[in-house]
Amino acid sequence: MLSYIVRRLAYMVVVLVLVSVVCFYIINLPPGSFIETFATQLDAAGSPATQAQLDFLTVRYGLDQPLHVQYWNWIVPLVTQGDYGYSFEWQQPVWTLLADRLWLTIIVSLVSMVFVYVVSIPVALYSATHQYSVGDYSFSLLGIIGLAVPNFLLALVLLVASARLFGVTPTGLFSPEYITAPWSWEKVWDLMIHLPVPVIVVGLAGTAATIRILRSQLLDEFQKQYVITARAKGVPEGRLLMKYPFRVALNPIISTAGHLLPDIVSGSTIVAIVLGLPTIGPLLLRAIVAQDTYVAASCLMLLGVLTVVGVVMSDILLTMLDPRVRMSRAN
């Protein structure tokens, strides 16, 4: 068990190194660089920069060097000092840009995940135990709508509805007076008030998918011989449901939990733009458009870390919960 965890963590490091290389390479794939984008912007603004200025910037940002040297210059300080580099566009260290957004992203994502499970597990249990009832059909219909409606559309609908009904547009995660304010209980409370709309929008598709997976898993498990064995032993139905089929049906949910986290982070980019959420998604999009190499690479890297860590965590969790997996992985 311990050796399995150690092995998984070692693989994780290898995967992360590969992810960093691929991220950096992909960011630099589009022709041109930030300097050219910058020059075009200055041109458009009517004050073209001189070639000397541009050359100076190119050398200063190290953009004249081969790609592998640029990668090395980015990755070494990142690993050794936690230095994410410098944003060309924002003229700030990348970490200052990321820090707040990262925490807000994690908060929105985790709350969305909790929302997904808190809603989907009871609904799936109800649907599976009341198969083909009116309630089951209603939840299925809602679930299909939840899967089919693009979440940015839902975000717009909620914005309009909220503006019409309550006269509030629930954009962003804070009221204007708290955006730059230091953290306080009032600010936390303000965040809580702003969370529901983004959480519902971001979590809806995941909720619908989880209901469907868990419901069919449960229905599958109900037919299994071990459930009949337990019933024949005289185990009361309620306890039987939670101890046996539910417990086994949870496995695919646990093993996909690791994927849900990055899905929520990257899937919510458009929602974040529509709702004006100060999360990583919009920053990444802007950085890619502007070819702001270090910001883009760092954002991608963080998403990669979230994915890999999530998958490893759900794998380890699954190993702890399922003796069959434990056995096959011990060898």
């Binding site: 009949i228 064995t229 019933r231 024949a232 005289g234 139905e237 046996y244 417990r247 003796p323």
Partner: protein, 356 residues
């Protein structure tokens, strides 16, 4: 069925379970499947009743009905009386699914072991967890005592190092070990009835013999009755005191084991016996088989179920009426119009079947 329920053949002891006119219907898209069609039998205390028949003849559904664990949408009618030494019998069919009485019968008064030892245990709970669950439900809430019983039970069924086995998971056991653990789990509550639904079908022949011997020994020790379900006549001959032969949801022959094997009365039973390979049969002689397959009993016609496959069927009789199950010799019941007793019980004129 029109025959009154007579006492089972050669029954000297008191009845433990009386099944009377049990009908189980499964509504399917294709129509109503009558899995059990007016089945009546009695299991005496401490004795073994063998229930034989081909796959799909309704043996399992009939057995499941005793614990009310047949598929949820099935419709059951008739009576299943469980007798107690100190109080009036309980009709299991009339119990609700959440009845405490039913929960105490399940696994307590009557325990069941199943055909598939591979899938009968939950894969994510240890053997000990699942075995102790039965003991907590029906024997004692005391942890130390329950553990003691569990260890003793595993020892009884011949599992080496029982204390360690309790911590193991089902996938760490072989098929034979699992079936032993299953038997230990079923018997841990000291049930008065053990329902064994083809418990050795999935096992190797050598393991099969061990498991059969184990069940006989435990029956002698604990004095429980067994309802033994199998399609294997050899196993039934070894295990049963009485045998009921089922075909398409009905019992077609019911007799003491010796009578049945020495003088089978129903053409279906004769066919089953002829299709068992036997040492001493001349080589080169083809093994007989019953032609055709068991028809699916959906929207059953009013006729003998075996009529289409029967070598001695009487046209105009067997396809027009259902033969009742009555005594054709004392204590030996058969449901076939070849016998005048059956013709009489069906209310047909004598001679109607004398075509042969």
């Amino acid at each position: 069925m029109s025959n009154p329920h007579t006492s089972a053949p050669e029954t000297a002891t008191r009845p433990l379970v009386e099944v009377k006119n049990l009908r189980v219907v499964l509504p399917l898209i294709e129509g109503n499947l009558t899995a059990s069609d007016g089945v009546s039998f009695t299991i005496p205390e401490g004795k073994t009743l063998g229930l034989v028949g081909e796959s799909g003849c309704g043996k399992t559904i009939t057995a499941q009905s005793i614990l009310k664990i047949a598929p949820r949408n099935s419709r059951t009618s008739g009576e299943i009386l469980l007798h107690y030494p100190d109080r009036p019998p309980v009709d299991i069919v009339s119990l609700g699914p959440k009845d405490d009485e039913l929960l105490s019968i399940r696994g307590g008064e009557a325990a069941m072991i199943f055909q598939e030892p591979m899938t009968s245990f939950s894969p994510v709970h240890s053997i000990g967890n699942q075995l102790l669950e039965t003991i907590y439900l029906h024997r004692t809430r005391d942890k130390a005592k329950a553990h003691e019983i569990a260890v003793a039970m595993l020892q009884k069924v011949g599992i080496a190092d029982p204390a360690a086995a309790l911590r193991k998971y089902p996938h760490e056991f072989s098929g034979g070990m699992r079936q032993r653990a299953m038997i230990a789990m079923a018997l841990a509550s000291q049930p008065r009835l053990l329902i064994a639904d083809e418990p050795t079908t999935a096992l190797d022949v050598t393991v099969q013999a061990q498991v059969l011997r184990l069940m006989r020994d435990l029956q002698r020790d604990q004095g429980m009755a067994i309802l033994y379900i199998s399609h294997d006549l050899g196993v039934i001959a070894r295990m049963a005191d009485e045998v009921a032969v089922m075909y398409m949801g009905s019992i077609v022959e019911y007799a003491a084991v010796r009578d049945l094997f020495h003088a089978p009365k129903h053409p279906y039973t004769k066919g089953l016996m002829a299709s068992v390979p036997r040492i001493g049969k001349k080589s080169g002689e083809p093994l007989e088989s019953i032609k055709g397959n068991v028809p699916v009993p959906i929207n059953k016609p009013v006729a003998c179920g075996f009529f289409p496959r029967c070598p001695v069927a009487i046209a105009g009789v067997c396809d027009k009426a259902v033969p009742p199950l009555v005594d054709v010799t004392p204590g030996h019941r058969s449901a076939c119009f070849l016998y005048p007793e059956v013709v009489a019980a069906a209310g047909l004129p004598q001679g109607a079947a004398n075509v042969h």
